[in-house]
């Protein structure tokens, strides 16, 4: 068995502006982040597809005490994509003071940014970013 969508291929997709995910052929579950087998039914008969980069914020926080290598404060949120999966990313273009409960339910457009390597990160990474719709 091989991974239908490796981390490397997922990252390459984002670099080209495409949010790649998986669809389970037997049960039709949409999967992101990618896995080797379907979290819903366990099948490894998975197919790569391009996901719509749109969804709504389900929850958020403002990180004010950060890990080494990060500059606080910044907003991190979970977004439920229109196709179902939940993803984690950083909310851009919004001041931390504006991050109130009213953010929950707001629609966003998903993008990405490269993140710097540190000694423990296995090289450079990629983080999803969320921009509020209608701004």
């Amino acid at each position: 068995m091989t991974h239908a969508l490796t981390y490397s291929a997922y990252k390459d997709g984002l670099a080209n502006g495409v949010l790649r995910g998986l669809r389970c052929n037997p049960c039709r579950e949409h999967i992101l982040p990618p896995t080797a087998a379907c979290p819903a039914c366990g099948s490894s008969d998975l197919e790569v597809m391009d996901f719509s980069p749109r969804g709504r914020i389900t929850t958020f926080t403002v990180v004010r005490v950060a890990a080494a290598g990060f500059q606080p404060p910044f907003i991190v949120a979970m977004v439920e994509l229109d196709q179902g999966p939940w993803i984690m990313g950083a909310v851009k273009g919004l001041q931390p003071e504006a991050a109130t409960m009213g953010l929950i339910g707001r629609r966003v457009i998903v993008g990405s940014e490269r993140t710097a390597a540190d000694p423990y990160s296995g090289g450079e990474g990629v983080s999803l970013t969320f921009e509020l719709e209608g701004r």
Binding site: Y7, L32, P33, T35, P39, T58, T59, F60, T61, V62, V63, R64, V65, A66, A67, A68, G69, F70, F74, V76, A77, M78, E80, P85, W86, I87, M88, G89, A90, A99, M101, I104, T115, D118, Y120, S121, G122, G125, V126, S127, L128
Partner: protein, 388 residues
Amino acid sequence: MRKVYVLGAGMTPFGVSEKTSMEMFAEASLAACEDSGLAPKDIQALFVGNVLGDFEEGQINMAAFLAAEMGLSSEVPAVRIENACASSTVAIRNAALLVASGVYDVVLVGGTERTTVMGTPLATRTFAMGSHCRYEEPTGITFPGIFGMAAHLYSSRYSIPLDTLKRQMALVAVKNHGNGSKNPLAHFRKEITVETVLGSFMVADPLQLYDCCPFSDGAAALVLAAGARFRPRGRKPVVISGVGQASAGSMCLQKDVTRSRAREASVRQAYRMAGIGPDDVDVCELHDCFTIAEILATEGLGFFEFGKGGEAVEHGETSLKGRIPVNPSGGLKAKGHPIGATGAAQAFEIVKQLRGECGNRQVEGAAVGLVDTLGGEFGTVCNLVFSR
């Protein structure tokens, strides 16, 4: 399966320690051996929960060094177990099952951690390693951030105004600090008020400093045994009557973490094995790494309806004299959270409670106790039922 007795329990003070992780583990373990009436040479296997020894002191393969440090026989297999903050609970579950099944008659099991030597930036970075390293960590999410998101989700899902929830969360901290003030081994032994919590600085919205457990150092250990040679003497013998452990993927894959499927599955296993339900539990040590985490846990373990855990705190149902006393030790919040040692310290408290040795924080007549430990972002949950 044989009946597994807890013959001995030992624990170091929690807080900031000048001792190394291995020195602390040896101290807790030798105290547990002394408490059991057995000698280190009686130990047949060693299991050590430890999460970040590599980052803290540059130590891997700690278990083997510890076996030698404590004078165990060279025939003893020594294993370090890592499941984030649930490491030593998982170690106890594995040790108990190996004793129950007859592989060993006597094992030494516990955990140790010295988080404070890392300093806050590196500690925060390494704790964040409990999130998914490819799909979550690069966002800069921290552990307080994970539970901050859980708190906002909880407020939204159950339509509880954030101000109301924050007050309920503050009451968790007030209760656990009150309990911790009665525990001579606790990291923090001072009482606080709701105003202390709500006046402290914001760490990760909506969690303020006093919603968060501290970084701590410490170790705890148990001696477990079964078989004709190792019947406990005197005192009310404490047994491990049920164990459970379950797993989940990244927070993204779990979606709504206000209900942890891993916790619900794990505690179901433990209750079934012990032949009990949540109403039979007299005292519980659960994973209050953040105040919201205690509220979530009390619901997931079946003590309260989903969405009602905050109200239960307001009504004092989880206080020492309440319907189900939660975290009489002070919990992670006040007793401290040396992550690899946390589960073993929860077990230590329950053993002491069932023996009636807890002084002014004693839950009167406690006969059945539950341990609940969470590893990572709800990825591992491990539960232990103790009874006498």
